[in-house]
Amino acid sequence: MKHRLLTGLLMASSILGSAGIALAQDKTLTIESWRNDDLAIWQEKLIPAFEAKNPGIKVTFSPSAPTEYNAALNAKLDAGSAGDLITCRPFTSIDLYGKGQLADLTALPGMENFSDVAKSAWQTDDGKATFCVPMASVIHGFIYNKEAFDKLGIAVPATEEEFFAALDKIKADGTYIPMAMGTKDLWEAATMGYQNIGPNYWKGEEGRLALIKGEQKLTDADWVAPFATLAKWKPYLGDGFEAQSYPDSQNLFTLGRAAIFPAGSWEISTFNTQAQFKMGAFPPPVQKAGDTCYISDHTDIGLGLNPKSANADAAKAFLSWVASPEFATIYANALPGFFSLNSAPVKMEDPLAQEFVSWREKCKPTIRSTYQILSRGTPNLENETWVKSANVINGTETPEAAAAELQKGLDSWFKPAK
């Protein structure tokens, strides 16, 4: 019944849409997004490129604050006032698809440009229906101040031992804060800390999938170890890091007051414009020299279609363009650090972005451990990991206790499929 209503709505909207063409009126598409940092790039580069090729379609990019995006979007979708195109979070968008608030895009022209792995974040569990066009992934690592490293004669650390030796050296010198990170915003500790260094301990996909299958637990040594390492970061963070927010950390680093920034590749474009010094990047250090390295190459952004859109045809044309190599090239170069998921190779100009993407060759990529399936219930594993990671760095909870709490919360609702 609901489906028939939906088809009816779609039909009606397409008829209304074509009536619009007959009247030669511009159709306006609105994109809902949490990427308010990208407003300029959409307005100046991406949208003009599309509008030049598709006269008669106007596109508006209307972002909201990242942490409020999901709540705002859900409210708008329920009220029927959401935009035509919806930026999809990885894995959680399946709820919207289940509620009929995202259209099935499996047959969309252009979808064949993406591998199954790229699409996995926006597919039903059986992989039959895809509901968002994959746009970009982000890679975790550490960005460092090259000038500081040169001045202090520090080589880029490859192992954990070298990493802490470097931190000690920076701290002893005293010119720079060794590492720019705060725990006030919580997610910094989890995303830039736990999810950044974690894959080296739980062996990337191997551990992540074992956790979903129930073969491993968060209380296993491989999952507690990253917390133990995070706890060792505390002395290297700046004064009052407990009240240091994410923008504070960014500013500390770009002002040249800190030497190392635990990062996600999305920082590249802002850092490029703000930092006056040369920067480099290194992947999360491995435990022993010669160990296989694992990186978090997280499918982060997709774009889906609101089935209630009045301009579904125009929106589909836009989505097909988003799936094209042309979009991939503009996007990856306009936003260095957001790496295209398109199968077609994309040439990037930015050296820092090239450095990040080169790790795909030598390290095994994985996605953030908490995203797929494990964050569907209450308490939510991702949100709990934020709080626990911050606690561990603050020293208010031991790594073992934090891991035990997380596992207890997960056990309360999650039953691994046998």
Partner: protein
């Protein structure tokens, strides 16, 4: 004119329909934006969404809220924090408000209009501005607080208050006190101005002056106003949300140390980051907030207000 007096003389009471007409707009608007949503919330808390269909489950949601250790821990934590938030307001904001009002109403004070305005201004500022400004003031990196303490040689006293579990809630309560101290001040000030001169003169004739005059004459006369302020503070504090949200975010860190009922409700109802919203559990928390406030107000109305002595002049 003549018609009216004629009607009066006939002693016929016409239907006073104008009362209904004049009441209607306010009543309708109030019903639409306050009473209906309230009952909507209460109703929502009795349902649960199963496979996208709302199913009536009776008090099941309340049982989860109090029975499930995870939910009940969060709830009691939020209620405890909220109570502390309220206690700080009662112990700091209201006494300071009364003190300021007493000082302002002193006839010897110069520039009292200026002080009155200056102290009241934060009240009209947006929460977002207050939260942001104080976050900057207290910031360990760029804030003026560490520098000011450094100037007087007390740098060692500086703590990143907003990031420490043991201080964050108290710090935020004091920020809220700073913002709202103008309201008790204004109400008490008005009450003090309405104390008749004769009473004060009579007191002076009997030799009751200065502090004992305030304590024995003025304070008993403004007690009803203090009662009103207490209940306003109670309702305001248990409905609070914005300051915590703008300063600490929806997860009310560190480790939920600043989580109050408002932020707990927001997180549950609308969801946060990967957590999807649960309107039914959210409505359950909202209903509990309503009952807590209702109980508080009833206790005040029936037990305290009826015992307050009133003086007629």
């Amino acid at each position: 004119m003549s018609e009216q007096s004629l009607e009066h003389s006939q002693d016929k009471r016409p239907t006073r329909w104008h009362i209904a007409v004049f009441l209607a707009p306010a009543l309708l608007v109030y019903t639409a934006v306050m009473i209906l949503p309230l009952f909507g919330t209460l109703q929502l808390s009795l349902f649960r969404s199963i496979d996208n269909v709302q199913v009536f489950t009776g008090l099941e949601n309340f049982r989860t809220l109090f029975g499930d250790p995870r939910w009940s821990n969060s709830f009691w934590n939020a209620l405890g924090n909220n109570t502390w938030f309220f206690i700080i307001h009662m112990l700091v904001q209201n006494p300071i408000g009364i003190l300021l009002a007493a000082l302002l109403s002193s006839p010897k004070l110069r520039f009292s209009a200026f002080y009155r305005t200056a102290i009241f201004i934060p009240t009209i500022l947006s929460f977002v501005i207050v939260g942001f400004a104080w976050k900057l003031i207290l910031s360990p990196l760029w804030g003026v607080a560490p520098n000011l303490l450094d100037m007087v040689g007390l740098k060692s006293l500086f703590v990143p208050w907003l990031g420490k579990e043991e201080y964050a809630l108290t710090a935020l309560s004091l920020i809220s006190v700073w913002q709202f101290v103008g309201i008790p001040m204004m109400l008490i000030y008005a009450a003090m101005l309405s104390i008749p001169e004769e009473v004060i003169e009579a007191a002076e004739c009997d030799g009751v002056t200065g502090f004992s005059q305030f304590w024995k004459i003025k304070l008993p006369l403004i007690l009803p106003s203090i009662g009103i302020i207490s209940i306003l503070t109670f309702v305001g504090n248990f409905n609070a949300f914005d300051l915590i949200y703008s300063a600490q975010g929806a997860l009310a860190g560190p480790n939920y140390a600043t989580d109050i009922l408002g932020t707990f409700l927001y997180r549950t109802f609308f969801g946060f980051q990967l957590q999807t919203g649960d309107p039914n559990m959210g409505a359950t928390i909202a209903s509990m907030m309503f009952f807590i406030i209702l109980t508080g107000v009833c206790v005040y109305l029936f037990l305290i207000q009826t015992r307050l002595r009133r003086y007629q002049f």
